[in-house]
Structures are given as C-alpha cells and as structure tokens.
C-alpha cells in the first residue's frame, strides 16, 4: 500500500482536476442522434452489419469485426440508421466511416441484451469471447479491445492484472469520479477480468492525489476479503498512468522494448473498463456508454458526464452548460496527449476520456511558443520516463538518420509530451518524433517492397533463363538429330 518509487524521471504537473471533479456525475439522456465511428480510436475499423433505413434497438450490434485491434460497435439508442458514411471523427487521420442513428425516443432493448446468469460458470475462453462480442474496449484513452489483451495474457501466462486508476493526465477526472461512486462495480469487474486473463493476482493502482477514490476502493476491497486483490497507491507524477510506467511502479518489472506487457507477466486494464465489464455481467449490456470529463475554461460548468457512445460532442458540451468565453481548441483527452478535433460534431468514442474545451487561459503557453534551436541542455532527457535522449533524437530526426533513430529508441517513445513541456527552446519534440516514426515506418515499408520486388524480379529472370536454356537444349538436340539422322544407331557400321 505504500507509495513506491516509480519510474525514471517524470514530472508533477498542474492537475486542473478540481474544475470537473467537484460536481456530481451528470447522466445524459439519450441524444436525438448518435454518430458511431467504426474506428473507436485504435486506427482499425469494424464493418457495418446494418444498412441505412434499418431499425435498431438499444444494444443492437451495428458493426462487427475479426480484427484483434478493432472492437464491435452496438447501437446505444433505439431508432433508425440514417447514414453510413465517412465523417470527421476523433481518430487517427481525423476521419472514419460512421454509422449515424436517429433516436425514436423509445427505450426498446435488443433481445441480445440479457444479464449473464453466472459469469463464474463461463470458461475463461468463453468469457474472453463474450467480452469481445460485447465490444468491451479500454476506456483509459487507447480504446484497445479488452479481449485481445486478455487473450494474449492467457497465452503468455501473465501472473498479474494491473487495474489502472492512476489517471495522471491533467484535467481528466472521470476515473476518479467513477472510483468514488462505483468502487464495487470496479472490484466486481476486476474479479471477472482476473479470471478471464488467468492471472493469480490483481492490483488496483491509484495516484496518491485521489484520497476519496483510494478510500472508496479500499472499502470495496475490504468487503470482498480477497487476498489476491490489492490496492497500490502510487505517487502523482506524470506519466504514472502510462501503461509501461505503471507496470514498473506496481509490479517492479519492465515491459521489454517492442514487446507486450504480457511478456513481462502483466496485463493492464483501466478501472473504467472493469466497471464496464461489471455492467456487462450484471445487465448484459455491451459497451454502450462511458463516463467522460467535460472540462476546460471554455465550458460553463465542467463536470463528468455519463453519455452514450456516439453522442456528438456538442451535446456533451451543452450538458456542461455550453461554451463560455472564446474556445480555441477542442481536445479529445487531456492537455498533454489529447487530440485536437476540428469540430464538435464528432461522436464520443470508447477511447475518449475527456473533452477539453481550451481557451487561451489553458493553452496560452503553447500558443505563445517561439521555437529556438536546441541548445542540448538535456532537460528533456531528465524528464523522459523512458530514458531517451530527445536532444539526440531530434538531430537524428532532422537528418532522417533511420539507423540512429532506431538505436536511440524513437519507437520506445510513449508520446507523453514531457520533452516538449520542459524544452526551453520550445521545440515541438513529440510531434517531430511522431513524424520521424511515420517516415521510418514508410521507409521500412518501402524497403520491404523493394526487396520483395527485387526477389520477384530475380526469380522471374531465373525462370526465363531456365526456360531459354531448356528451349536452347531442345533446339540443339532436335538440330543434332536432324543433322545426323543415323546417329540413333551408332552401333550399326553398315
């Protein structure tokens, strides 16, 4: 239970959490329309199984997938599918195919939505499959399908399930609110996840700046009396909640570079995901809604909202009292890693834990940044939780030196943004590294393609040569035979 020394470096940031955390959770009524992105934030999309004009009920499967990085999508409200088209979305690249559903005001529930009679009766494999079918995805910000993580944990024999309640990023407090109000759900979900992942123990990790959440979860754990379910209080240092950093803090092991947490015997899930699993177990509800923090100086009443997936952000902002002042950026996520969105018409995704409506008060430091050359002061290296040398990476990135970039670990970067944050030359380092990773990726794909083409060309050449040789031989043998017709009967001397 003691706060442990955590990972290399990191930084205590201004939390900005009191704005939204002071008020009770707002339950958003079903909006008139939802926009369900088929890419729920992982970069991989599900495929629609409904058509325009089709009626759907609450919980109807609208998009399915076999891809391990995509999750199934269900209708969060009853109504009619009015469009399936590419729209702006809170995803990589900014666009995704979306299913748009107009609500009919009823609360018709799909037949498939039935409480799970006894989750303990299901085999772990069945459990994983059912969670996949329910579209359960990580609610911590990445939106990665929970079932995929659980399956790899089973395959690799993970021993520890870490439930991430660190919530280290500024502004975001929906997990805090959830832990305070639904600790029992989290604990129930933890038991199901532990069983599905096949781990021996489960540790719930919370940062030490959330005393109320710690108290609530402690009480819930005590009621359960399960020795293999414990609480770990970790220091409030950004990026404590980053998967790898949290695993090191809680389990004392490092996830190998380029590997999975399960390679280190650990699987990590968000506390909100555990609560969603509990909702699925008790009500049979697939992932239809999530708790999201709506905050920033640009909204009138910052608060945490429980809203259906697909709710247009404009509706969330309206539920928080609407815009205030001069909003400049609409950020899905927190101020350090959040994605700035072009418009408030995009739908809430499973991966979106925060809607930060930022005015100049919130992001002025970035807006006023003047970039100067790197002076190699090394503040970035001191802050980097991965132990990288951003000052050297920057040189390699500018020179597009791919080998150096790989050696210096550009792919080990977790994109936390701390190097940017502390840089006195105010260089957008994180963005440069994202760019460098993309170029590295493209160059490698190109090199693979080139090697492939060369191999194909060589093989073709060899085949043509072989054919030519064979033809030549045939020709020669035929020619020889034509020139010396009697050659066949060499023994005949007459």
């Amino acid at each position: 239970m003691a706060a442990r020394s955590t990972f290399h470096a990191g930084l205590a940031l201004d939390a900005h959490k009191q704005q939204a955390c002071g008020t009770p959770i707002v339950e958003l009524p079903p909006p008139t329309q939802v926009v369900l992105a088929l890419d729920q934030g992982t970069g991989y999309s599900a495929e629609p199984v409904v058509t325009v004009g089709e009626a759907v009920a609450v919980g109807t499967l609208v998009a399915r997938t076999d891809h391990p990085s995509a999750s199934a999508v269900h209708a969060p409200l009853a109504g009619i599918v009015v469009a399936i088209e590419t729209r702006e979305a809170a995803v990589q690249g900014g666009r995704s195919v979306c299913i748009v559903i107009d609500g009919d005001g009823s609360d018709r529930i799909d037949d498939s939505v039935r409480p799970v009679a006894d989750p303990a009766a299901l085999s772990p494999e069945e459990l994983v499959q059912r969670l996949r079918d329910a579209g359960i995805a990580g609610l911590g910000g990445a939106g990665f399908p929970t079932a995929t993580k659980l399956a790899s944990a089973r395959n690799l024999g993970a021993h520890t399930l870490v439930l991430n309640g660190a919530e280290c990023e500024p502004w975001i407090c929906c997990d805090d609110a959830l832990m305070r109000s639904a600790a029992d759900d989290i604990v129930l979900g933890a038991l199901i996840l532990r069983r599905a992942a096949g781990t021996v123990r489960c540790v719930i990790a919370i940062e030490d700046d959330k005393p109320a959440a710690i108290a609530a979860v402690t009480r819930a754990i005590e009621r359960l009396r399960d020795d293999a379910l414990t609480l770990a209080v970790v220091p409030a240092v950004y990026p404590q909640g980053a998967e790898r950093q949290l695993i090191t803090a809680v389990a004392g092991v490092e996830v190998p570079s380029g590997g999975l947490p399960a390679d280190a015997g650990v699987v990590c899930q968000n506390v909100a995901t555990a609560a969603a699993v509990a909702r699925w177990a008790t009500r049979g509800e697939p992932m239809l809604s999530r708790l999201v923090t709506v905050t920033g100086s640009g909204v009138a009443h910052p608060c945490n909202v429980r809203a259906p997936i697909g709710t247009p952000l404009a509706a969330l902002i309206a539920a928080s009292g609407g815009y205030r002042g001069k909003p400049l950026r609409l950020i899905a996520g927190g101020s350090m890693t959040g994605r700035a969105l072009p418009s408030d018409e995009v739908g809430l995704t499973k991966a979106m834990n925060c809607v930060l409506v930022a005015t100049r008060d919130d992001i002025g430091s970035r807006l006023g940044a003047v970039e100067l050359p790197c002076i190699r002061c090394g503040d970035c290296a001191d802050a980097c939780p991965v132990g990288l040398l951003p000052q050297q990476l920057l040189r390699a990135a500018l020179a597009d030196a791919h080998d150096t970039l790989r050696q210096l670990g550009v792919r080990d970067c977790i994109d936390c943004g701390l190097c940017d944050y502390v840089c006195p030359s105010q260089i957008p380092l994180a963005h440069r590294f994202r760019d460098a990773r993309r170029r590295l990726h493209e160059a490698e794909a190109m090199a693979r393609k080139a090697a492939d083409a060369r191999e194909r060309h060589d093989l073709r050449k060899r085949r043509l040569q072989a054919a030519a040789t064979a033809e030549q031989q045939t020709f020669e043998s035929v020619r020889d035979r034509a020139r010396r017709p009697g050659d066949d009967s060499t023994g005949d001397t007459n």
Binding site: E27, A314, P327, D362
Partner: protein, 362 residues
Amino acid sequence: MIAHGDPATIPQATRTDMRFDTSPAPHVIAGYTVPRVMFQVLFALVPAGIAHVALFGPGLLLQLSVACVTALLAEAAALRWRDRDAAPALKDGSVLVTAFLLAFSIPPLLPWWLGALGTALAVLLGKHVFGGLGQNPFNPAMVGYAILLVSFPAEMTRWPVPMDVESTRTWSELARMSIAGFYGADLTARWDGYTGATALDSIRNGLDLRYTLPELLGRDDIAGTLGARGFAWINLAALAGGLYLMLRRIVRWHIPVAVLGGLLVPSFIAHGLDSGIALGPALQAFSGATMLAAFFIATDPVSAATSDRGRLWYGAGIGLIAWIIRTWGGYPDGFAFAVLLMNLAVPFIDRYTVPRIYGRQP
C-alpha cells in the same frame, strides 16, 4: 443556468458550426525559455564580477562592455550574412554569455582591440561558421580565448597585481592603470612592477627556478590574503554563483563535480607524493580559472556531452587535462585547451554513453 442531472433542462446538441484548430499535442508547455537560462547564467556571474572588480580594478567592466558590444555586432552581422532574422538571436542572450565568459577569462589590462578581436572571433569562428546557436562543437568563448592566448602571449598573461597583495597601492591607481591598458598605453613606463603574471604563472616560474612550493606560497606577492593572489576570492565567488545555478537547476551537478574531481584527485595524489613541487588540491581548486571553468565554461550544454554519464566523462577529462597542462604544460592555466580538447571528444563520448532505454537490456 443548467441544473445538472435534470434531463428536462439539458439542451440537446446545438449546431454551432465552430471550427477548431487541430495543432498536435501537447497543448501546454512549462514556458521555460532559452533567454531565462542565459540570463540566469549572467546573473550567477555577478559575485565573481564584484570580486574581480574589487581586487583587480575596473578593467573587467571595460572588457565586458567592449566584449558585449562586439558580440552583439558580430552576431547581428553574421545573421545578416546568413540571411537570418537577427532579432530573436540577439534577444536569446547566448551571445552575451559568450562575451561575459571571454571577458572574465582575459586579463583586465588587455587593450580594447584585442578584447574586440577575441570576441568577434569567438562569435564568428566559434559559433556562426558552424551554423549559430546550438550548432557549435566548440565553446565559442574558449575559441576566442585560445586564439588570443597563442597570438598575443605577452598581453594575455599580464595581470595587475591585485588588491590583496600588501605592496599594491590604491584601487584608484588600479583604475587608472586599467584605463591606460584599455587604450593600449605602454604600461611598462609608468606601471612597471605594478603588473605581473598570475599566481599560477609565478609559481610555475618559481618551480622552474628550483624554488620549493612552500617557499613560494610563503611570499605575499604570490599568495595574497587567501592564496593564489586575488584568484582565490574570485574562485570563491564563482563557486557561490555556480552553486546558485545548480540550485536553480540551470546546471546539473555532473560536469562541475567531474571537472573538480578530474583536477583535484590527481593533484591530491601528486601532492601526497611530493608536496615540495606538486600543487595541493586546495590551491588547484581556488586558483586560476578553476571554478569559472567548472561551473560556467565546461557546462555550456551545446558543446558538452549530453547524457549524465557522458557529462561525467567529459568533465573528468577537462579536469585531468587542465591538471596535466598546469603540471607539465607550457601554459600556466590549462582550462581553455582542456575544454576545447574535450569538445573534440564529445561525439565519441556521446556515442558510447547512451543511457539504457526502458525495457532494453543494458
């Protein structure tokens, strides 16, 4: 006003047609700046400057003004030739740090044109031929200093006899001599015997003449009130300024500690082996440019090694080379050459001191 949680009063989505800017994360930064770093360094030099002026007369102030003016002009000219915007570079303060470090290194009696020449060369050859701020492999101030030292050895080793030597006259006479020296007057006519080598230089010459170290250190005109004739005070003041920089986290401990270790450990051993000729660690630490070099010159991040472990090697190399030059070399103090030599070694050090990355084998 919205009553939270009451569905009846929560408005539905309102189309706002607002478009937002989609700049990449992070959306907030700490707001540290390069000028802040540079001006903290200048500020930390104030105690050493006060000690310098009190002991050696106002020559430092004259050298500082000519160095700063020349540095700004050279920076502006270089940027103009390179077709760059001069305003941000002049405001970042880096060129002033170069000017300050050079002015602190040269003798306060130096004619103004030598100070100007050294500064101009520092900025142009030390910095801009490599591409300006952040690109220079060598410490610019030390480039300027080294060129002056090898080109004008007599002028570059002539210091006033400081105030803490009994035979010195008054500070106002020091002031008059500094001004005369600044304008290039022939100092030997009127001020002879009033100028001389530094303590380190005198000790070296004495040792060459077969004196023993205790004999030399017993002389007031070498030791002054605290040892090292004037420089002990400046070193103490520079140490204070350096500790301030470490406290403000402008300078990390690695380089200063390694420089001092590289200098003091061998001198401790040598002094233990033969106290008659080898300078002890206390004298080494508080004479010549030791503290200025350890905290202000070697710590220039642009030309230093960049990882913590690399900085330890880099600093230790500077201290060790300075000790070697002080002990056997042809120059009384060795920090300028020590810094330049280790600057050369930086790419090599950086290559072999990359820290272990999370999740990788050591």
